[in-house]
């Protein structure tokens, strides 16, 4: 396969609104699950760029590999995960770029949390139940600033809690004494302890109800503005992403099928899957539009067919879709800031007119 060329080109050309330099560049990352002879290729040469100060939304339905991407980029994937190729370039505060996948253990350990922090999907279970949250925050700080005295670190921890709207006397609490929303905030506070360049948030709010979700998201966005870090925000709730993200990457079956500015994705989805995804959410306001949904079931990653993985569910599938894997590239319309992996848009030979839902 040779998606490398296109994606590389695509990623560089994909200049964001701020046109800031990239802080995190994932290139052709491939991940397998299983150490045996027949591993599941979950991620296949995925590339992604995150620019300074940007919120990049990663959307896609359950099991498409969103979390895998996040974990693999930081080499936190548990066994039997295996990174089989690719690079993850991270620019740290000093401006040095390094490939996370090539770092030694010690270097990687140093880079973690200081340059790239991550808030996990199961934030409820991300806190060690047997330690006070103070210790858990302080541990992270002290590991990177060994010279810092524990009192100082404690000060800092209190400050962090206040940052996320929790009173500092909660430092002495154990996780089980906090409500879900508070735990989530603690996690975020902890992730921000060292003012990392990149914050990866893997479905940080799915377990919470909407009110709480909004509160937390707004806090994060506010902090981002204050502290200037970049965020990779993972969720399957596209309508949420459209609201919070600057840019959205839509994933399907271990591949990125479309990336574009959030507004553009919402207003003019180009990939049939993106369109289907958006058509699955009933809108709360505005006219009651017809919901289309996506027929069929998500693919089984362990038994891949050739061709576009979405083809079996795609209402516009063509013959070529069943035989050839589309690569991420510009649309035929030549829109800036948008890459799509779909034959409908990239095949030059495509003579048929685009379906109206994809060509708004």
């Amino acid at each position: 396969m040779s998606a490398d060329v296109h994606t590389e080109r695509g990623a560089l050309a994909d200049a964001g609104p701020a046109a800031a330099e990239p802080v995190l560049e994932v290139r052709n990352l491939s991940v397998d699950y299983g150490f045996g002879d027949d591993p599941t290729h979950v991620l296949r040469e995925v590339s992604l760029t995150l620019r300074r100060g940007e919120v990049l939304g990663l959307a896609g339905e359950s099991g498409c590999g969103k979390s895998t991407l996040a974990y693999a980029a930081t080499r936190l994937l548990p066994p039997p995960g295996l990174i089989t190729g690719g690079e993850v370039w991270l620019t740290n505060r000093e401006g040095t770029r390094a490939d996370l996948l090539a770092l030694s253990d010690a270097e990687l350990r140093a880079a973690r949390w200081r340059d790239i922090a991550i808030v996990f999907q199961g934030a409820m279970s991300s806190l060690n139940p047997v330690f006070r949250i103070e210790k858990q925050i302080v541990d992270g700080i002290v590991a990177h600033q060994p010279r810092m005295r524990r009192e100082e670190a404690r000060e800092r921890a209190a400050e962090l809690l206040r940052l996320v709207g929790i009173s500092a006397d909660r430092l002495r609490a154990y996780p089980h004494q906090l409500s879900g929303g508070m735990r989530q905030r603690v996690m975020i506070a902890m992730a921000l302890a060292l003012e990392p360049q990149v914050l990866i948030m893997d479905e940080p709010t799915t377990a919470l109800d909407v009110v709480m979700q909004r509160q937390i998201l707004e806090e994060v966005m506010e902090l981002r503005e204050r502290l200037g870090f970049s965020v990779v925000f993972i969720t399957h709730d596209v309508s949420l992403l459209v609201e919070v993200a600057d840019r959205i990457a839509v994933m399907y079956a271990g591949e990125i099928v479309e990336t574009a500015a959030a507004r553009d994705v919402y207003a003019k989805p180009r990939h049939p899957y993106s369109a289907g995804l958006l058509g699955s959410f009933p809108p709360l306001h505005g006219p009651r539009r017809e919901l289309t949904g996506i027929p069929g079931a998500p693919p089984d990653l362990s038994a891949r067919e050739p061709g576009c993985p979405f083809a079996p569910r795609c209402p516009h599938a063509m013959d070529v879709c069943r035989t050839e894997l589309p690569v991420l590239g510009r649309t035929a319309q030549g829109e800036d800031n948008r890459l799509v992996a779909c034959h409908l848009h990239t095949t030059a030979s495509s003579t048929e007119p685009l379906p109206p839902s994809l060509s708004r």
Binding site: R109, V130, H176
Partner: protein, 327 residues
């Protein structure tokens, strides 16, 4: 608070049950200490002695079981466990006094050592899962399955009879009189080494296996991954985050396994001629020495109960979730 109360109630109930079982088992079943004594002596005691023995042990009177039960409680509450038949007329409490510290000392130390070593090895194996370290598992299963007495006897045959490195029996040099001297303590350690070694060898495997499994489970918990993500040193993650949590179920099964441990000691004491409560119990059983039997069983059960309580407390200390949570 209610947690504590419930535990206390539970322990009280268990103690009562143990004491009652203890009373009934020897009585409801046939056999009698005098015939057992005659049997054991196989003719070395004059057959005419039987009657005098019955008079001596007070077995010539008839009282109802209920009356006996009440008497038993009455005496027990006064700390009186009665007089032993075989060691007549030594009070059972004296015998228990004399043997319990040895068992508690040796078994306690050995069990704690086994627990610590086993948990450490298990931590390591669980952490290094999927590497050569997995090769140690079959060895562990083998040691877990070997009957204790067999291991003990072979150890004696090899290490003390053939190689002569260790004494094969006794708790300290028979020429010494217990005292707080270096010589005596040294002798106790020297004599205790082999029994302790075998106890450790045969029980360590269980801890290894349990800990390893818990480590495997715990190390895929999110908070361990978070610890990694925080960039903590590997050792800190392994011991501070993974092992710290993996050991919790171990602690509670540690408490429960104490019963098994004491059972094991009985055999250890037999094999190594070690003076201790287990062997005393066995002796009492084979001689139908009710008072002694009851005393030993009671003391064993109560010490297991106490140990359980300690382990319970330790668990509560280690796991904040069990403590009452008033916000």
């Amino acid at each position: 608070m209610s947690f504590l109360l419930r535990r206390v109630a539970f322990y009280a109930l268990t103690a009562w049950a143990a004491i009652t079982i203890n009373f009934f088992i020897p009585r409801l079943l046939p056999g009698d200490p005098v015939t057992a004594l005659l049997g054991r002596m196989q003719g070395r005691i004059d057959s005419n002695a039987e009657h005098s023995l019955r008079v001596l042990f007070g077995l010539d009177q008839d009282t109802t079981l209920w009356q006996q039960y009440l008497d038993y409680w009455g005496l027990l509450l006064r700390g009186d466990l009665g007089l032993s038949f075989t060691h007549f007329p030594t009070p059972v409490s004296e015998i228990v006094d004399q043997s319990l510290p040895w068992t508690v000392g040796l078994v306690g130390v050995a069990t704690v050592i086994a627990f610590v070593i086993g948990s450490l090895i298990g931590t390591f194996l669980g952490w290094r899962r999927g590497t050569w370290a997995d090769g140690l598992l079959p060895v562990a299963t083998f040691f877990q399955a070997v009957p204790y007495f067999w291991l003990g006897l072979i150890t004696i045959a090899v290490l003390s009879v053939n190689l002569g490195w260790f004494p094969s029996s006794g708790s300290y040099d028979r020429g010494l009189v217990p005292a707080f001297t270096g010589e005596f303590i040294g002798s106790v350690v020297y004599y205790g080494f082999l029994p302790a070694l075998t106890v450790v060898l045969s029980s360590v495997a269980g801890w290894v296996l349990g800990m390893r499994n818990m480590m495997v489970t715990v190390s895929s918990e999110d908070y361990v991954t978070v610890a990694h993500a925080k960039g903590l040193a590997e050792r800190q993650v392994m011991l501070g985050y993974a092992a710290r949590n993996a050991v919790l179920p171990q602690v509670s099964s540690f408490a429960l396994s104490l019963g098994f441990v004491v059972g094991g000691t009985l055999i250890m004491e037999m094999v190594f001629s070690y003076q201790g409560i287990g062997y005393t119990l066995y002796q009492a059983v084979s001689t139908h020495d009710y008072p002694l039997m009851q005393g030993c069983f009671l003391v064993i059960t109560l010490s297991v109960l106490v140990a359980n309580m300690v382990a319970d407390l330790a668990y509560a200390l280690l796991d904040p979730r069990t403590r009452t949570e008033d916000r």
